[in-house]
């Protein structure tokens, strides 16, 4: 009940944010150069055709009318029709969403799998060589451009060695896992570096915390100290960071999808921008905003489930 109330409260707080988000999207899209009518009609269209299309799209209305239309339509779940795809934006988004969601979750999962144990090893060996080696390796990971690494992995692991498929999404869960391994791994290289950095210092900080000293003084086994006291506490800041960096993660996904020919939202976004597909750009930007907000909300919920101090406020 309290959780439900909390969710409701968080959702109400999102309203002003989303109004602002809509304004930003609307303004951005309105300021896009190039004529959407021209994008629809193509270079060879006549001026009269263009005028007709503009009229149909309501582009001749005053800006605030257009915004109001955009707002009311969006609230009703109508994101318009994609110029590029000639279908409802919402349909296109829902068609592509699972792929991107899968890829993102997969990447996060891989990052955690990679970074988690490494962070522990590094933190417990603070200042000694395993720490130095791990930190250096991940530091390099942090500096690697996703598009280049993707390209290299694609060329050598997929095209040359044939360990993985070159592109696509596959059918079914296992196939998704197999098809999306390289893209997810590429994103994870970067994300795991961020997680490692944060988790390592969080663990170190917690290891020095008085309550861990107290736990030691109580004579608890190491396993309990690390698992129950250290990990849980260190996780909180890491989960927060993961939640907050979901935007960056999706940024990585955007590029990765392009390189790996994964038909997800990111690739669609680039295509939409290049094609001046206003409704699609609007819809996608909004989708990204909603996704990120949802992740923020989930992060908060997860956090408050871990941390009782969060539950009160």
């Amino acid at each position: 009940m309290a959780t439900l109330q909390y969710i409701l409260k968080r959702l109400t707080l999102m309203i002003p944010t989303f109004l602002l988000v809509m304004v930003i999207i609307f303004l951005l899209v309105r300021f896009l150069p190039g004529d959407p009518a021209l994008a629809i009609a193509g270079d060879r269209a006549s001026d009269a055709d263009l005028a007709a299309i503009r009229d149909r799209l309501g582009l001749n209305e005053p800006a605030w009318v257009q915004f109001w239309l955009f707002l009311t339509n969006t609230v009703q779940g109508d994101l318009g029709t994609s110029i590029l795809m000639r279908t409802e934006v919402l349909d296109v988004v829902f068609q592509r969403l699972p792929t991107t969601a899968f890829l993102t979750v997969y990447a996060v999962g891989l990052s955690v799998l990679i970074a988690g144990p490494m962070a522990f090893v590094a933190a417990l060996n603070r200042g000694r060589w395993p720490d130095t080696v791990i930190r250096t390796v991940f530091q390099v990971g942090l500096s690697m451009p996703v598009f280049y690494i993707g390209l290299v992995l694609l060329t050598f692991l997929a095209a040359q060695l044939r360990w993985f498929p070159v592109g696509g999404y596959g059918e079914g869960f296992v196939s998704h896992l197999y098809h999306l391994f390289l893209p997810a791994f590429t994103v994870a290289l970067y994300t795991s570096a961020i997680i490692l950095r944060n988790l390592r210092s969080a663990i170190i900080e917690v290891l020095d915390a008085e309550y861990v000293q107290f736990a030691r003084a109580k004579g608890l086994p190491n396993r309990v100290i690390l698992g129950r006291h250290v990990l849980r506490n260190a996780l909180i800041s890491t989960v927060t960071l993961l939640g907050l960096s979901i935007g960056n993660l999706m940024s990585g996904t955007l590029v990765t999808e392009t390189v790996f020919a994964v038909p997800g939202l990111g690739r669609l976004m680039l295509e939409a921008i290049f094609a001046r597909d206003y409704p699609l750009i609007q819809g996608l930007t909004l989708t990204f905003a909603v996704l990120v907000s949802l992740v923020f909300l989930l992060t908060d919920l997860f956090q408050s489930s871990l941390d009782p101090r969060m539950r009160l406020s």
């Binding site: 602002l20 988000v21 390099v140 500096s143 280049y148 060329t155 960056n248 955007l254 976004m269 907000s293």
Partner: protein
């Protein structure tokens, strides 16, 4: 350990410089960035050829003594192009971040200090902007302004300042928890003096550390946009563009994309290492 942490007056602690010299990571970072800066400032000294000179007769030659990184599809010298790209990419690191830094620091300091309605509005703006994936927003802004370096800087600044401002605001508020800001008010100092003379120098450390990381990110982001065709535009030599130009030849002419790839990783690493080192060095003492 509480008891020893509060060690009393220590007449001769090692200076920051001494501390810095004791950190190999930081030193390597400084070395990389110093070299990169040198290359960026005078590429002509180091690059053997005009980076844009087309030689029809020397297309995609493998590395040789004459062309240490080989030549590209237009017979241009890859080595010279990678070197000349230093100018663009280092410029990217600075120009894509420095305005965001300045705007963010000022806005963050002001809203953090005054709070109130401006802070509430700021909070909403931050919420709204961080709700977008960074790249999505930057790409959208680049799309509005048109591709190209200047527009890319503007786009990254328009989005990036928020992160600085947020950090600065939090840090200012944290610093205001220290009595010296109250002491300033009690002393009857003007708000401007308290913000800019007292709070800001103390609050800026994490912002500067973030700046280093952000410069590394700016290079990554800039080259990503270059790769996607939204950043620097060919024939401009820029690492992302160079990789994009070389991506078709990754198996046949690997040197085209490998060298700029290495340059990106190295420079990014340099900034990250400096950032890490700074975080240790600038940690407030006593």
């Amino acid at each position: 350990m509480s008891d020893t942490a509060v060690s009393s007056s220590a007449p001769s602690r090692p200076s920051r410089l001494q501390l810095a010299l004791g950190k190999p990571g930081f030193l390597i970072g400084c070395l990389i960035i110093a070299l990169s800066t040198l290359l960026a400032l005078m590429p002509n000294v180091f690059a053997p050829y005009d980076p844009n000179y087309i030689d029809y007769l020397a297309i995609r030659q493998p590395p040789s003594w004459a062309h240490p990184f080989g030549t590209d599809s237009l017979g241009r010298d890859s080595f010279s192009r990678v070197i000349h790209a230093y100018r663009v990419n280092m410029q990217m690191a600075i120009l894509a971040t420095v305005f965001a830094l300045v705007i963010g620091v000022v806005v963050g300091a002001l809203v953090g200090y005054y709070r109130g309605i401006a802070d509430m509005i700021f909070g909403r703006v931050v919420d709204a902007i961080i709700t977008f994936p960074f790249l999505v927003l930057v790409i959208a802004v680049v799309a509005v302004l048109g591709p190209g370096l200047i527009n890319m800087y503007i786009a990254i600044t328009m989005v990036g300042w928020v992160y600085y401002a947020r950090l600065m605001r939090a840090e200012i508020i944290a610093q205001m928890g220290n009595d010296y800001s109250d002491a300033g008010m009690v002393m009857g100092y003007s708000d401007r003096r308290i913000i800019f003379r007292h709070l800001l120098p103390n609050a800026i450390t994490p912002v500067l550390i973030y700046w280093m990381t952000d410069m590394a990110l700016a290079i990554l982001l800039g080259s990503s946009l270059g790769y996607l065709g939204l950043g620097a535009q060919p024939p401009q030599a820029e690492w992302g563009v160079l990789i994009a130009e070389g991506r078709n030849f990754i198996t046949t002419a690997w040197w085209l994309s490998l060298m700029p790839g290495i340059a990106i990783v190295l420079t990014g690493l340099g900034f990250s290492l400096i950032g890490d080192g700074l975080a240790d060095l600038l940690r407030p003492r006593g």
